[in-house]
Symmetry: C2
Subunit: 200 residues, 2 copies
């Protein structure tokens, strides 16, 4: 079996949301699995000297337009969460906790976070918000809330973010196909072609 | 006849080079003309608070890799000019001067600048460098060198850059299809689809 595709994203990233709705289907067409890896993109902004898109005049406005346009093209819901961007520590920690026992359920949780955040435009920054979403898909609320305070889980998210930075991840979504890096949901065509051809 | 596509680019932009090699064919498939509009991207960097890609750690390295990979995918030559990026005032002025009398020749000159700069990796920053390239495609060298010092031509480049900024251009290449903005050579698929469908 070929190596899984690494899919790095921040739950606060709308382009990450668009990527999340496409990458599994792309991988499946080529017999690949996808390893979802939420990260805290703030570390990348600091290392690279960039900022969240919305903070740039002109470029921020274009990006909002492009994100809405891409959502329409893909036929997926898009809503702008109030007070965007939010911190998404709790969501990312919850994901890694669940990964240890049930990877399929962890991906379901990630999809649920994104569906609420960018599909419905509701705040998912607080631990309680994320616990509500987890509970709605059958995860034990108390166990979830305890887990996201677990130092081992906190450390795992830090380690994933550091590893991503070392691998050259600087934005969301970011994909690796057999070690080859691709940035952006608008590079999925290249990802697909790389999977088809093995590179060029 | 439908409106021409506006194609904004900086001669110092490698993604602009990649865009320049594709946009006319995309437009032609849909019965459109392309209005090439070189600009000085420095004004955009200042307005938006960004910098040339190569100046960002990590992101700059990825971009260099992506540009080389895209050139291979498209089967076009790519060489890295020494001391990149250069100022490209002279090239942009020469283009606008020639546009007044011979738009087809102006596009040929733009292609020649890009071919030397990113196809062969030679410096095209100086007025004399650009005059050599102009002369090689049959343009009078002295007339060219005088024209790029003409205040009216200098003003035209400034005006084009200002208009671009007002229209929301912040990067290169940047396209407008019937007023709809698309940034990046990796958005040509969306440009093509917009031309096909009239928007979505």
């Amino acid at each position: 079996m070929a190596e899984p595709i690494d899919f790095y994203f921040d739950f606060a990233s709308p382009y990450g949301y668009l990527g999340s709705l496409q990458i599994d289907a792309v991988a499946e067409r080529h017999g690949r699995e996808v390893m979802w890896r939420p990260i805290m993109l703030g570390a990348m902004f600091k290392a690279v000297g960039t900022a969240p898109l919305g903070q740039y005049p002109i470029k921020g406005d274009y990006s909002a337009r492009d994100i809405a346009r891409e959502a329409r093209r893909l036929g997926v819901p898009l809503a702008h969460p109030p007070g965007f961007p939010h911190g998404t520590l709790a969501a990312a920690r919850g994901f890694y906790w669940l990964m240890k026992s049930d990877p399929a359920k962890a991906k379901e949780l990630a999809n649920a976070f994104y569906a609420v955040y960018f599909g419905e435009g509701r705040d998912v920054s607080g631990a309680e918000d994320t616990a509500d979403i987890a509970a709605a898909i059958g995860i034990d609320r108390d166990e979830y809330l305890a887990a996201i305070q677990d130092p081992a889980i906190k450390d795992q998210l830090k380690a994933e973010t550091n590893t991503a930075l070392e691998r050259g991840v600087f934005g969301s979504p970011f994909f690796f196909v057999d070690g080859e890096p691709f940035w952006g949901s608008d590079h999925l065509m290249q990802v697909e072609r790389w999977l088809e051809t093995g590179g060029w």
